[in-house]
């Protein structure tokens, strides 16, 4: 299984996403923002960081990168795509996922170990989890508040497209405590917390995040 990991100028967690793919026995394929080329990968991860410094709005500039046009096209054909943190913001800006991320309600950057409830275990990235399971992964962001209009929220909730919800308190003012959502077909997932930083209890709070990358293997290999 080949998983592309995009690097934009200012991307930071690309090395971590690549490591997580390797831990799940996948092959990580670096993708460069300026290329019109997905190098034949089976799935794409848009990793965290501060693409283009997060200037203007998080993800606003990265969204227009040539590689993102390829990602949008591939995603529309059903390729699994995961956006983590800044990657989630980019996927929202690119309209692959609805809504937007705004400044944390307390205005500070927050780095902490965060409990999440898995609410949807049928996406390409979450089949290894039990529904209702609680996982502990790092959250580290300054603009992680999920916002969408009421109609969109109702739709997300009604269709079971909220994938992760913050447990034990809302760390950033996200509406409905939403930590991660999925596209209508369950192939594109975006979340603010960092599963790729929870793949080994030595360097993360747990290895709870590894399940997302193992799930991907299942869905790609099983497909």
């Amino acid at each position: 299984m080949r998983v592309g990991v995009i690097t934009f100028p200012g991307t930071l967690d690309d090395v971590d996403a690549e490591r997580a793919v390797r831990y799940a026995d996948g092959e990580a394929v670096p993708l460069w923002h300026a290329d019109h080329d997905l190098k034949g990968v089976d799935a794409v991860i848009v990793p965290g960081g501060f693409s283009y410094g997060d200037y203007l709005r998080c993800g606003a500039i990265a969204r227009f990168a040539p590689v993102m046009q390829e990602v949008v096209e591939a995603a529309n054909k059903g390729m699994p795509v995961l956006g983590i943190c800044n990657g989630f913001q980019i996927l929202c800006e690119a309209h692959l996922l609805p809504g937007a991320l705004v400044r944390n309600s307390k205005l500070h950057f927050v780095c902490r170990d965060q409990w999440l409830t898995v609410e949807n275990n049928e996406t390409a990235w979450t089949t290894r989890y039990d529904r209702g399971a609680e996982v502990l992964v790092p959250l580290k962001s300054g603009e992680g508040g999920y916002q969408a209009d009421q109609r969109t929220l109702d739709e997300l909730e009604g269709e079971g497209r909220v994938v992760f919800r913050y447990a034990g308190g809302n760390p950033n003012g996200s509406r409905n405590g939403i930590a991660g959502i999925t596209s209508a077909n369950g192939r594109v997932v975006g979340l603010m917390p960092h599963p790729e930083h929870a793949i080994d209890a030595l360097t993360g709070p747990t290895d709870d995040g590894l399940g997302m990358f193992l799930s991907l293997v299942d869905s790609v290999v099983g497909a």
Binding site: L56, E93, S105, L107, G145, D149
Partner: protein, 79 residues
Amino acid sequence: MARVVVDVMPKPEILDPQGQAVANALPRLGFDGITTVRQGKHFELEVADDVDDATLAKIAETFLANPVIEDWVVRRVEA
């Protein structure tokens, strides 16, 4: 060369934690009588004369603002 100003504001129904923080802080600093504060962005552009209003609107709509959460206004100003 023309001078163009674009103001981008959070939509009224969207939570504005920054504006809120300012509004909450003002009375503590001894400034009373400010009932609401909303905080957005202010852009000042220098623009070639052949850039028309439709293009400016497109720049604001697709790039400077995120219409999911923000409203925008474009204004040409005298230099």
